[in-house]
Structures are given as structure tokens and as C-alpha cells.
């Protein structure tokens, strides 16, 4: 069953007389437990697509059904609730709250969960951090953590609400190769445990970790590649390690 169903998605920006067609009729369907990489050069529309999938942006036309829910009629508040419950974000620049401990960063989405009365926020945040291997770093603030560790905190924050999908926007863009591999194998592991992941990247070797590549150009999908052989998913040639 498709968790993401995009049909005829257009996103046009009007700058005076000029209309920029960031997305110009995108049809994409992503199944539950898939690991998809969205690729494309800069200006191809991949960021806009990610914003639409992440309910940060609303398409000019087309329908987007997320986890069985049609998002087209949603209000601002409705979109906020969808982001809170169904989507976890992982960004290139980590986007953690500074001077705030890892635990509190991970608790953040739970604090905005309006239906979450009576749930043990701290316990769930702790569990999410343990799942990404940061059980020992609960009370460290971002400045005291390495880039890879910060990204793990961000992943824990994305996981903690048990979302339908995790959206990762260039998740390794700020990391060196070794840390990139660590983060990507964590994604792989999470995906294998049943979490749907949509990742935006422009690096081909990072995209190799995904089960499917969707390539965009000029606001349209120009190519889709399925990786039929799961064994083909392997670490970057450069590191030579055992990811």
C-alpha cells in the first residue's frame, strides 16, 4: 500500500511577470517500508518536492495523499499536525535547538503533540536516543557533540513520534565520509526495521543506499531506477570498511 501518493503535482511561483515552474506535473508513488532517494541537479525541483512531501509547502495543483489522508484541503494547523504525527525531518544542517540538551531536542515534537496527554515524553525521547546509539549522551548540548552525533540526535527526533515517513534532506551533506557511512547505515537499519525513508541528495554514492532512485529535472521526473538486488546496496567504495 502506498504511503505517499503524488498525482499531477505542480508548484509554480510567480515573480511578477515570470512564472517559475519548480514542479511541473510530478506523479510519484512510494510504498510503505521503501527507501527512496530523490535526485537531481540544483534547480531540478527536488527541494520543492521534498517540501511538498513534508507538508512544509502546498502544491499549486495536484493531489497528495499521505498515509491515506488527502492533504489538499488541510489548513495551516492541519499541516502542522500532519508534520507532527506523520513526518519526521532530518536536515543537512541538523537543525537542533542550540544550548538545549539532546534529550530536550528529541522531546520537542512530543511537546507539540496535542493528543499526547499522559504519555511519558522523557521515556520515549530516551528510547529514541538509545535506538540511534546515543543513550550515553542524553544531556549533552549540540556544541558538545560531533556532527555525526548531532545528526543522530536529529534522527532520534524524527523517530520519536513514530511517523509514517522520515524525510532526509541531504542528511550527509555536512559530514565527512566516515560519518556519512555511519549515518547511512543507521538509515538502512531503520528502513529494514520497517520505516519508510525519503531522502533528497545530489550525491550518487549516497543514493546507492536507497532501494529506488527518482531523478528530477526541470520540475519533472525523468527517470526511476529500482534496485532489484538488495545486495547491491553497499558502503561507499572509498571507505573499504564494513558498514
Amino acid at each position: 500500500m502506498a504511503v505517499i501518493e503524488l498525482k499531477g503535482i505542480k508548484r509554480h511561483y510567480a515573480f511578477g511577470e515570470v512564472t517559475v515552474k519548480a514542479l511541473d506535473g510530478v506523479d510519484v508513488s512510494i510504498e510503505r517500508t521503501e527507501f527512496v532517494a530523490i535526485m537531481g541537479a540544483s534547480g531540478s525541483g527536488k527541494s520543492t518536492l521534498m517540501n511538498v512531501i513534508g507538508c512544509l509547502d502546498v502544491p499549486s495543483s495536484g493531489t497528495y495523499i499521505l498515509d491515506g489522508l488527502d492533504t489538499s484541503g488541510a489548513t495551516d494547523d492541519g499541516l502542522a499536525d500532519i508534520r507532527n504525527k506523520k513526518i519526521g525531518f532530518v536536515f543537512q544542517g541538523f537543525n537542533l535547538l542550540q544550548k538545549t540538551t539532546a534529550l530536550e531536542n528529541v522531546e520537542l515534537p512530543l511537546l507539540y503533540d496535542r493528543a499526547g496527554g499522559g504519555r511519558n515524553v522523557e521515556k520515549e525521547a530516551r528510547a529514541a536516543l538509545e535506538r540511534v546509539g546515543l543513550g550515553e549522551r542524553l544531556h549533552h548540548i549540540p556544541n558538545q557533540l560531533s556532527g555525526g552525533q548531532q545528526q543522530r540526535v536529529a534522527i532520534a527526533r524524527a523517530l520519536v513520534t513514530r511517523p509514517a515517513i522520515i524525510i532526509a534532506d541531504e542528511p550527509t551533506g555536512n559530514l565527512d565520509t566516515e560519518m556519512s557511512n555511519e549515518i547511512m547505515s543507521l538509515f538502512k537499519e531503520l528502513n529494514e526495521s520497517g520505516i519508510t525513508i525519503v531522502m533528497v541528495t545530489h550525491e550518487a554514492d549516497i543514493a546507492l543506499w536507497a532501494g529506488r532512485k527518482i531523478v528530477l529535472r526541470d520540475g519533472r521526473v525523468i527517470r526511476e531506477e529500482h534496485k532489484t538486488d538488495a545486495a547491491a546496496v553497499r558502503p561507499l567504495p572509498a571507505d573499504g570498511g564494513t558498514a
Binding site: N51, D81, N84, N95, L108, P109, L111, Y112
Partner: protein, 396 residues
């Protein structure tokens, strides 16, 4: 998000910028403190005036010449007699004349105020003699030259002996001292009530003032709940005595104690309001300071707002967060201001200035501080909540 969480978060972000927060709240602290202290001092002076007038007796009615320059004074000693005779609700009545005069006797001289009064005057003022006697009704009728002096005058002229039975001179006329008044001390305004000499009204009129008109008639009603009756009755009696037609205006003015207090404290009240308003302006300026800093804070924390929006905060949540922050800022400023004001007014009392802080006013100013926070915090908070999440996430 729960209210407790909101407050916890806002406290944390306020404490993160301690110096800035302190400077921001300083405006509110000074504003609230000065409003409270100003109003307290104003209230204090009003209370002093009230006490001062109350110390003149509890159910006093005062008749004075009409206000206005061309109105003639027609109050005479016969009016008092008529009021005393005919007034059913009148407990005591006395005509009063006053003049400043230097009294000579004993070891020297002393400038004081000489009152010409009738024996009822003591009852009206709830006063007594401490030594000797007061002059009698007959003394008044026969214009005897007897005097009763206050303790201050006694101390100045006769420091080492009993003044009763001694003779002294007022405006070159010799008077026999028949009694010394009980000490009343200084009144709330700080003037010495014992610096006084009382002589029979008729004597004062003929010897000291050389005018038959009275400066006032002071009356006490039989009881406090008969004040209105007594006042109406006295008015009727005086109109009759002065033969005023039904259409003629009163050629005198009648005031009861409440009215006297009101009149006397109206200036202080106006002053209180003026001081409070000026101090209120500083509170307003403090509020603008909060708005300024909140705007800076919103801009600085654009990225944070983006993060919060991306993890599912509604616009309302962002609005509430920043609003809570500015209210916590202004309210804590208000509380510090209140504490400071309480301390300051104790200090003022210590110096001798009366300052009254009412609990109601403390609540009011705390509420006002919070209102300032909401009013001046709303615009920055709204600005924060209206941000586009994509742009906010991209901010530096």
C-alpha cells in the same frame, strides 16, 4: 503545549540572556515601582488630611461665610444661639473666631493662634482640660478676660510653674489663665495642635477682633447617623435667621465632615493622579523596551521557529511561546518593581513621609505589568508565528 511547559521554556530562554533580560525588565521595574510609590505617597497625604480633619471631631458640621469674594459674611453670635436653641439634632454648637497674636507673660512672649470660642467647642473637638477649668457659658455672656492655653504655650511661657491662676497679655489686654488643655500632640500634617490659646468668644470679638462677624460656626450633630438631619435643620434655621426669601441663595455655606475631607483632599487626589500618570508613562516606555527586545529575539531565533514549525508546532504555539516570554518578562519586572516599591515606601515612612500601599493597588499594577507584556509582546509574537517554515529553516 501545556501552560507549565510554556512557562518553563520561556523562563529558560529568558535566563539564557540574563543581562539582556535584566536590562529589558528594568524599564518595567522602574515603571511599576514609580507608579506604586507615587500613588502611595499621594494616598498617604490624603490620609493625613483625612486624619487631620477627623481629629477635629467625628460628627462635625461647619458653617462658614459663603465662598466667593463679594459675598458678605453675615454669621453672628446670635445665629449660634438660635441654632443651639432650635436645633433638635444639634448636640453642640460654637461660634469661632481666630487670630494670630503674640502672647506675653511668664518668662517671655510667644506667637500663637488665639481662638475665641464657646464652652461647647471642647465637646465638638472632643477635647478636655488637663489642669484647671474651661470658661463657662456665663463667662462668655459677661465677656470676662479668662484664657485656657495649650501645653506648648504653657511650656514656652511658664516652663517651671503651674500656669493656672497666672495672668498674661494678649494684644496688650491682660487675661487670667484658668486652665491648660490636654496635650493633643501634632496633627497628621505635622502642625502642633497644642500651640493654641482659647478665650471666650464674646471677649475675642470685642477685645481682639473688633468685628462682630464669626469666621465659622462649628456644630456637632447628636449622633453620626443624624448628620444629614442636623445639616438640613441648621440650614433652615440660618435661612430663617437671615430672613432669606425662598428664592434667595444661602449667604453661608454648610459642610459636613465628609465634604470638608473631600474638599481638603481633592488637591492631594489630583496630585496623586498626576504623579501616577507621569509614572505610568515610564511604564509605557518600559513596555516599548520589551517590544524592542522581543523583536530582536524573534529575528535572532528565526531558525528555532523554523525547527519548531517543522516538528509540528502550530502557529498558535509559536505565538503563545513568544507571548508567554514577554509576559513572563514584564510580570517578573512588575513583581520586582512591587518589592522595590514596598521597600522604598518603608524607607519614605522612615524619613517621615507617609506612604500607603493598598493590596488592591499592588494587584492592579501586577495586572497592568502583565497587560503591558501582552500588549507589547503581541506584535513580535505575531511576527514570529507568521513566518514561512521553509524560509525560517533556511535562515542563519
Amino acid at each position: 503545549m501545556k501552560a507549565s511547559t510554556l512557562i518553563r521554556l520561556s523562563l529558560r530562554s529568558i535566563l539564557r540572556n540574563r543581562m539582556r533580560s535584566l536590562l529589558t525588565t528594568l524599564g518595567i521595574i522602574i515603571g511599576v515601582c514609580s507608579v506604586i510609590v507615587m500613588v502611595a505617597v499621594g494616598e498617604g497625604s490624603q490620609a493625613s488630611i483625612r486624619d487631620n480633619i477627623s481629629s477635629m471631631g467625628t460628627n462635625l458640621i461647619m458653617i462658614t461665610p459663603p465662598r466667593g469674594q463679594n459675598a458678605a459674611n453675615r454669621l453672628v453670635i446670635e445665629d449660634v444661639e438660635k441654632i443651639r436653641k432650635e436645633g433638635a439634632y444639634v448636640g453642640a454648637a460654637s461660634g469661632v473666631v481666630r487670630s494670630g497674636s503674640t502672647v506675653v507673660g511668664g518668662i517671655g512672649n510667644w506667637p500663637t493662634t488665639v481662638y475665641g470660642v464657646e464652652p461647647d467647642y471642647l465637646r465638638i473637638k472632643e477635647w478636655n482640660t488637663g489642669a484647671g477649668d474651661f470658661f463657662t457659658e456665663r463667662d462668655v455672656n459677661t465677656r470676662v478676660k479668662k484664657a485656657v492655653i495649650g501645653t506648648t504655650v504653657a511650656k514656652q511661657l511658664f516652663p517651671d510653674e503651674d500656669p493656672v491662676g497666672k495672668r498674661f497679655r494678649i494684644a496688650n489686654t491682660p487675661f487670667d489663665i484658668v486652665g491648660v488643655l490636654e496635650s493633643k500632640g501634632s496633627n497628621a500634617m505635622g502642625s502642633d495642635q497644642d500651640d493654641i490659646v482659647m478665650v471666650p468668644l464674646s471677649t475675642a470679638i470685642s477685645r481682639l477682633r473688633r468685628s462682630k462677624y464669626l469666621q465659622s460656626i462649628e456644630i456637632s450633630a447628636v449622633s453620626e447617623d443624624r448628620m444629614d438631619d442636623a445639616q438640613a435643620e441648621v440650614e433652615t434655621i440660618l435661612r430663617e435667621a437671615h430672613r432669606l426669601g425662598p428664592d434667595a441663595d444661602n449667604d453661608f455655606s454648610v459642610m459636613n465632615q465628609a465634604q470638608i475631607i473631600e474638599m481638603a483632599s481633592s488637591i492631594a487626589k489630583t496630585l496623586t493622579m498626576l504623579l501616577g500618570a507621569i509614572a505610568g508613562v515610564s511604564l509605557l516606555v518600559g513596555g516599548i523596551g520589551i517590544m524592542n527586545i522581543m523583536l530582536v529575539s524573534v529575528t535572532e531565533r528565526t531558525r528555532e521557529i523554523g525547527i519548531r514549525l517543522s516538528v509540528g508546532a502550530r502557529r498558535r504555539d509559536i505565538l503563545r511561546q513568544f507571548l508567554t516570554e514577554s509576559v513572563v518578562l514584564s510580570l517578573s519586572g512588575g513583581l520586582i518593581g512591587i518589592l522595590l516599591a514596598v521597600g522604598l515606601s518603608h524607607l519614605l515612612e522612615f524619613v517621615g513621609l507617609r506612604a500607603i500601599i493598598s493590596p488592591f493597588f499592588i494587584l492592579l499594577s501586577a495586572g497592568f505589568a502583565a497587560a503591558v507584556g501582552i500588549f507589547f509582546g503581541y506584535y513580535p509574537a505575531h511576527k514570529a508565528s507568521a513566518m514561512n517554515p521553509i524560509d525560517a529553516l533556511r535562515a542563519d
